[in-house]
């Protein structure tokens, strides 16, 4: 207050002359570090109090963290790194996972080259992960692979930058998913690696990606069905959505794990991981449907009426006019749903699958590493955090690029 007053006084008292800017330097307390401190931390007495409370909180957290860091022993992570990454995926087949990651790195690099912006942050994230992995005490061939991935990012960028092949890139992305799935699962000459031996981060990502890709069309269909003028379809969709949204995910997962075999004809068994995928898909679809419904309702009626007036039939109106606008509106909420799906994949640990969380429980209880739970949980929490935060950041960037909320 005092400083503001003094500057006002100074302004009033200042002689009108050419040298005003020189003579009227702001007081030292309102600029620089001191000014910043004053403005942001000590502007009023209760602000100052809050600052001291906050400082204490930081001190408490910091000292706790310091205690933890000084007594920490990361050998449990190092010894189980393979389990954490791919679970019990056969060692002689690991090249398939590596190839998938390499393909992914290339495509991300190319996306950067073609689209710039949004993809750049993904590139930075991937590059920093690879660089971190280079520093870690890994086997030399893993390091070579990591370096190769880094190089692929660059190659991808170069290819994308000079060709600017937008259409080809979209197709490549679309093709990459089934390609990676086939590569990992194995078909024909490639020996089959049943999903039940997949584990760790690989399983977590497989569950989330399959869940996201499969639940999206189902959710959109449900949302459209909920708006349908056919009462039978509408009530079916409403019933499904509300039923699924009313029960916890874990009950659906259990239901699928235990009951699904009962619902299938005898002799047909579905791998447990696939059952979990089905559960995630059915669950997330109901939530996606609600998100999309919000988007559909936000589109003015005039749009549909104009389309009909132009001679488009109901289906074409929906596909060409309503959905593109509605889906664009729902991107942030949709990504939020996918983030929560990604986090929820950890629930499969409760039904006995060895995803990242399941492997964490195994590793934390190996006789050699008893009492190392904190390291294990911190490690996997960090992995979850990086992915979730990256998705959230990407969503914000995308929102900006597409101009959601600006129309």
């Amino acid at each position: 207050m005092a400083c503001r007053l003094s500057s006002v006084v100074a302004l009033v008292m200042a002689p009108r002359s050419e040298t005003t800017p020189d003579t009227l330097k702001p007081p030292a307390t309102s600029v620089g570090v001191l000014g910043w401190l004053r403005q942001n931390l000590f502007s009023t007495w209760y602000n100052a109090l809050l600052t001291f409370v906050a400082l204490y909180v930081i001190y408490a957290l910091g000292s706790g963290l310091w205690n933890f860091v000084t007594t920490t022993d990361w050998s449990v992570i190092a010894a189980n790194l393979r389990l954490f990454m791919v679970g019990r995926y056969p060692a002689e087949e690991t090249w398939r996972v590596q190839a998938s990651v390499a393909l992914f790195a290339f495509l991300v690099g190319a996306s950067w080259g073609v689209w710039g912006g949004v993809a750049r942050s993904a590139v930075i994230l991937l590059a920093s992960i690879f660089c971190t992995a280079l520093v870690l005490p890994l086997a030399w061939n893993d390091r070579v692979w990591m370096a190769g991935n880094l190089a692929l990012l660059g190659v991808g960028f170069a290819v994308g930058h000079f060709t600017k092949a937008r259409r080809a890139l979209v197709w490549a992305w679309l093709a990459s998913l089934p390609l990676i799935a086939i590569l990992l699962y194995g078909v024909g000459e490639l020996p089959r690696v049943a999903t039940d031996v997949w584990g760790g981060l690989l399983l977590t990502l497989a569950l989330s990606i399959v869940g996201i890709v499969a639940s999206f069309p189902l959710g959109v269909a449900l949302a459209v069905g909920r708006q349908s003028s056919y009462p039978a379809i509408r009530w079916f969709c409403v019933g499904y959505i509300e039923l699924v949204r009313g029960v916890p995910l874990i009950t659906l997962l259990f239901m699928m794990q235990i009951m699904l075999p009962l619902f299938l004809p005898e002799g047909i068994t579905v791998e447990r991981v696939m059952r979990a995928m089905v559960a995630f898909t059915l669950f997330t679809a109901a939530y996606i449907a609600e998100v999309v419904r919000g988007g559909l309702q936000a589109i003015p009626r005039g749009q549909a009426e104009a389309a009909r007036a132009l001679g488009l039939n109901g289906i074409l109106t929906l596909l060409l006019i309503i959905l593109p606008q509605a889906l664009r509106l729902t991107i942030p909420a949709m990504v939020g749903q996918f983030i929560s799906l990604f986090k929820d994949t950890s629930l499969v640990a409760i039904v006995g699958l060895l995803d990242l969380a399941g492997i964490a429980n195994v590793a934390a209880n190996q006789p050699d590493f008893l009492g190392r739970q904190a390291e294990v949980y911190l490690f996997i929490a960090l992995i979850y955090f990086i992915f979730s935060a990256a998705m959230a950041y990407g969503s914000r960037r995308l929102e900006k690029t597409l101009g959601v909320g600006e129309r």
């Binding site: 393979r82 235990i258 699904l260 075999p261 004809p265 005898e266 195994v362 209880n365």
Partner: protein, 410 residues
């Protein structure tokens, strides 16, 4: 244009309905899949004249129903320990055994988090006595102990996994009880480990008898027989206690280690294993003398498949029988070459024991050669040289006062 699209949609809907009806009707006509193989066989028997040329031309070809039915006589004499494909002469392979052999891999339901029984090691393999018995079965089936897919199961989903046919055999320290044998629909096989319910308690508490635990908090795994036994026993003795249940052992022992509960109850062997593997100061803890219950831990398969049950049953008996006869991993080749008739018959040197159950004649030889007899299995998983130091107790051959009494292999 508009009308056309309507028509197309109508057509598509009709097609979908037709497909749905077809899909729905399909299983209804063919669903008795359990009976399907016999049906197929029944049809193939009256017309053996059609397939013979091909079947005779390639007697060792794929073990299809037809090939087996006709090729049987040509295969029998050439049977011997060197006969690799597990096709059978005497037995008609069907049901689960056929499924497993066709798959070329045994799916074995295990605990996966119980050191000494089955636990996932950092190298991605499973160790422990239950895992060893998975290998016993795989050795008998495939002559290859790596042809196993282990499925870690929780106490909650273990029976469902067996019921749904997801696993071929359950080797998951499961207590053999009447309820599970009947209401749950399992078939139990010879007990691989005779155990008893016990209580693990901190030495410093000086608890000698159950009454000393009055007022204590006792940790127990939910969904186990121990949970009910604990309640029954303490109620009968009118001892006050607070139960604390956990769905899995890791959480339970962590809680015990931190002093959240005063004691834990489980099967004694498990207590021994987990004391050594999951408690930070194993030596501070003792297993009380009191035995709360009988806990025969036995493998289980789904009921109503006698052929498959027999394979697992006799593979387990083989480990007992070998110990009775003094056959072990080291001397099994010698015994096969120079043993008495009984030994040779057991190991497949003569006779057709293995074949009778639909396996290779040398199935039991493989079990001993690749895995070992019961004594050896016990030594390397739970015995005094391991950190668990579980006494063999009742798990010795009947000749040494134990409960292991294998029916004769003849």
């Amino acid at each position: 244009m508009k009308r056309d699209s309507r028509g197309i949609i109508l057509l598509a809907v009709v097609a979908v309905v037709a497909f749905a009806i077809g899909a729905c009707a399909g299983p209804i006509t063919t669903v008795p899949t359990a009976a399907q193989p016999t049906q197929a066989q029944a049809t193939s028997v009256p017309q053996p004249t059609a397939p013979p040329p091909t079947a005779v031309a390639q007697p060792t070809a794929a073990p299809t129903q037809v090939a087996q039915a006709t090729a049987a006589p040509t295969q029998a004499p050439s049977g011997g320990p060197t006969n690799p494909p597990p096709t059978s002469a005497a037995a008609e392979i069907k049901g689960r055994l056929k499924t497993v052999l066709d798959r070329g891999k045994l799916i074995c339901g295990v605990n996966g988090q119980l050191a000494g029984f089955s636990v996932l090691e950092a190298d991605g393999n499973y160790s422990g006595i239950d895992a060893e018995f998975c290998r016993v079965v795989a050795a008998a089936l495939f002559n290859d102990v790596s042809k196993i897919e282990y499925r870690p199961l929780t106490t909650q989903n273990r029976f469902a996994a067996l019921q749904s046919g997801e696993v071929d055999v359950l080797m998951r320290n499961t207590t053999f009880t009447l309820n599970r044998d009947t209401a749950v629909g399992l078939e139990f096989l010879p007990t691989t480990f005779f155990d008893g319910g016990g209580i693990l308690v901190e030495k410093s508490l000086n608890a000698a008898k159950l009454e000393d635990l009055a007022g204590a908090t006792i940790c127990v795994l939910s969904g186990t027989t121990n949970e009910q036994v604990l309640t029954d026993t303490f109620n009968a003795l009118k001892i006050q206690f607070t139960p604390l249940t956990f769905p899995e052992a890791n959480a339970l022992y962590k809680a015990l280690d931190e002093g959240r509960c005063d004691a834990a109850t489980s099967d004694k062997s498990q207590l021994a294993g987990q004391r050594a593997s999951l408690l930070s100061k194993p030596d501070d803890w003792a297993i009380m003398d009191a035995t709360l219950s009988k806990e025969p831990l036995a493998p289980a398969v789904l009921q109503n498949d006698a052929q498959w049950a027999d394979v697992v049953r006799w593979a387990i008996y083989a480990t007992w029988y070998a110990e009775e006869l003094g056959i072990n991993q080291a001397n099994v080749d010698d015994k096969l070459a120079n043993g008495d008739t009984n030994t040779k018959r057991f190991l497949g040197g003569t006779g057709s024991l293995g074949k009778d159950m639909g396996l290779s004649p040398d199935a039991f030889y493989r079990v001993i050669k690749l895995v070992g007899n019961y004594g050896e299995i016990f030594e390397k998983t739970l015995g005094p040289n391991t950190k668990f130091k579980v006494p063999r107790g009742l798990n010795t051959p009947y000749t040494e006062g134990g409960l292991q009494y294998s029916p004769p292999f003849r």
